[in-house]
Each structure stands twice: as structure tokens, then as C-alpha cells.
Symmetry: C2
Subunit: 211 residues, 2 copies
DNA sequence: CCGTATTCTCTACAAGTATAGAAAATAAAG
DNA sequence: CTTTATTTTCTATACTTGTAGAGAATACGG
């Protein structure tokens, strides 16, 4: 009698047949979900289409995500986490205006990959309107972002690079809404359009802070 | 033999039975669509549900909107037009910073009605991601808004109330994205929440312009 | 009251969806 | 090769949706 779980048993001695890392498979499926939504839109991202994109047949997703909502919630959460990790990497060891700029540049949809992320997050927002759980995911990330931005602003004030009379909470909120709106503008821009002027808008905002 | 169309024939003399103003009926249906989306979300806004909300049975919408897409496109366009008319009313005869503030206040989701509009426009954006026609509707309105904002900024510069070195195009773009992002923030805020600080953020931005 | 053109209701249907679960395929140990 | 537990395919089901269209209801002139 063997008590070992097959997935743990790489060098096992029981009648052990298969080795699929469920967690990694889930990430593969999330990636396929992401690609499908970016390519066809969320309305065409059916379980069948996602399975196909992942290279499987219809029912293969079931053992890893019992329902479609599980899959989507996990996928959305993963995109959020990935963005936050990227932000953490880029801003590590930085502070003040420099960190604030790096933060914004990382979030703004300035390249094809992040424009795709904008095409994912908008359907997420739409679902969140009528799904309190998803709305909470959004709000918690945004609280986190706001806190980071307020800290960077405070640091910049200490350094003397931010001198405006407008208070930090208002500035951070304004900047956050700007970042969110930029997702809309980028996702709905015509196919070939590269220049939305987001760089200039960000630089403009940062310039205004020093008044 | 009678050649008059019954809908035109208010005082007719033919065997004329019914008087339904098709255009007004369409507006009623658009209103019911709007209410349904605001109440249940766009995913639950089926033809049946919309018809019910309008006080009709399933198939009654058909003569006025042959397909669901016709209904939705018309409904979205109508919300856009209504907003633009409201803006035109409020800013009529105004100019410069005053006009700019009135414009923004009219667009920002500061009351329950405009938070509902945010709950409508987000599903629209989502659909527009994969529907070039809808994307164009959005872009054309935004071009119009940008032009208006740039003009107000130019007027304010002439009046000396805007003195920043940041150029007007960047300012207008930044402000537009702020307005769009505010829709997201408001639509996903918790139910009871009244204060997002959008007023302060707008005032903060306008203050920064005078540097 | 009757006739008539319009408006609306109701039922029906074809297409597509998520999901369930039986059966086949698979891969490694013995 | 056989055994065994897992993984994947495949088919089936229950449900919802948009749409179509026949028929009933309606309202008004005569």
C-alpha cells in the first residue's frame, strides 16, 4: 500500500503513473485564458476556446478549475499579481519622484504587452461592477497603489522636489485615475496608433508637482 | 383606397387604427435598456429582461429594433448624446477655467445618476474593444471633448489664469484620462461610499494650472 | 356593432453555453 | 508485458439566448 501522492512522488516506488504539476498547469491554463481574451475578447473566450488555445480538449480544464468563474477569477488575480511584482521589481531601492515615475511608466500601456493587459483589465472591471468579490480585488490593489504613491510623494516633498500646495491624497488619487483612464484610451485606440501622448501627459503631471 | 401612412394620419379619414410614435417608443426602450443594465449588469440585460422592464413581452421590441446589437448601439449612442447635450447646456456662454471646471463637474460621477452612467459606459468600452464601430463612437466623442478642453485652456491662458509651462495638449489629455479613470473608480466603489475625493482631485488639478 | 391595419403576445426553434461523467489513453513501476 | 492511478477525450445534458413568426388583442373610422 502506497501513501504517497503521485504528484509528489518523483522518485517514488509505488505504482505511480503520472507527473503533472497541478499548480504549473493552472498557470498554463491562465496563460491560455489571457491569450484568448486578448485575441478574441472576453465574450468569445468560452471554455472550449480556452481549452483549444491551451492545446487540450473541452473537458480537460475541469480538474484544475471546476467552473469558469474559478478560472476567470484566478486569471484576473494572476494578472494583478504579475503587474504588482513587476512594479515591486522596478521600484526596488528607489524613492521619491524617481520611484513615482518608474511606478507610472510600469503601469501605463506604453507597449503592446501592456496594451494587451488593458484589454484584459477592462472586461475585468465590467464583471466587477456586478461581482462584489471581483470589485474587492480591484479595490485592494488600488489601495495598495495609492499608499505607495502617497509615500513617494511624501519622500519627494522631503527632498524638495514636490512643493505644490495641493495635498498628497488629492495628487495620488488624481494620478491613479489618470493611470486607469489611460487603460481605456489605449485599449480603444485605432490598431496602428502608437502615440497617445501618455509620456508627455505623465511628464506634464510630474512637472506640475514642482510648483 | 388610402395612401396615407397610419402613423402620419392623426386626423385621417381612412380605416386608421393605431397611433404609436415609433421614435418615442424607441426612446422608451432605450430607457428600459439603460435601467436594466444599471440594475442587473449588461450580462443579465437580455432581450426578455429589457422587454419586461419596458412593460412588454418578449417579441415586442422586434419592430423597433430588429436585433439586439441595434438596440445596444442605439442605447449607447443615446447616452453619449445626452451627456454631450448636458455639457453643452452647462458650458453655454462660459469660457476659460470656469468652463473647464463646469465641463469636468458635469462628466465626473459625483451623484447617483452619473455613477449609473459609469456603470453603463464601462460595458460599452468592453464591447468596443472588439467592435470597431463602437470604438469609433467613443473616439469621436473623445476628440470632441479634447478639442473643447484645449480651447478652454487657451482661453484661460489668454486670461492669465493658466500659466504653467506644460503644454495644453498634454494637459487636456491628462485631464481626459482622469475623467475616464474616475468612471472606473466610481463604478467599483463600495455601495455606501459617497466620498472618493474626486472634487478635491479636480480642484487640485485646476490649482496646478496656475503655476 | 363591424371592419381593418397595427401592435403585441406567445410559442417555437436553432445555436451556443457550461458542466457532468463515462470511457479511452497514458505513463511509469514491477 | 501487466498493473494501476492519473490524465484527457468525448459525448451527453440542461439551460439560456436571440430571433422568427403565427395568432390574438387593440383601437379607431365608419
Amino acid at each position: 500500500m502506497c501513501h504517497k501522492s503521485p504528484t509528489q512522488n518523483i522518485l517514488g516506488s509505488c505504482p505511480v503513473p503520472k507527473i503533472v504539476d497541478h499548480d504549473q498547469r493552472r498557470l498554463e491554463l491562465v496563460d491560455a485564458t489571457w491569450r484568448t481574451i486578448a485575441r478574441l475578447g472576453i465574450e468569445s473566450a468560452t471554455m472550449r476556446e480556452i481549452a483549444l488555445e491551451a492545446g487540450f480538449a473541452n473537458g480537460a480544464l475541469k480538474p484544475y478549475f471546476p467552473t469558469k468563474d474559478d478560472l476567470l477569477t484566478f486569471a484576473f488575480g494572476h494578472v494583478f499579481n504579475r503587474t504588482n511584482e513587476r512594479i515591486a521589481e522596478v521600484t526596488a531601492g528607489q524613492s521619491g519622484l524617481v520611484a513615482l515615475r518608474l511606478f507610472c511608466v510600469e503601469v501605463l500601456p506604453l507597449d503592446e504587452e501592456r496594451i494587451n493587459e488593458a484589454r484584459i483589465v477592462i472586461p475585468f472591471w465590467q464583471k466587477a461592477i456586478n461581482d462584489p468579490g471581483k470589485a474587492r480585488i480591484h479595490r485592494e490593489s488600488m489601495e495598495q497603489w495609492l499608499a505607495a504613491m502617497r509615500q513617494y510623494l511624501a519622500e519627494a516633498r522631503d527632498a524638495g522636489t514636490v512643493t505644490t500646495a495641493v495635498d498628497d491624497a488629492a495628487l495620488a488619487g488624481q494620478l491613479l485615475n489618470f493611470l486607469l483612464g489611460a487603460q481605456i484610451s489605449a485599449a480603444l485606440a485605432p490598431d496602428g496608433q502608437v502615440e497617445l501622448g501618455l509620456d508627455e501627459q505623465l511628464e506634464g503631471f510630474l512637472t506640475l508637482l514642482g510648483c
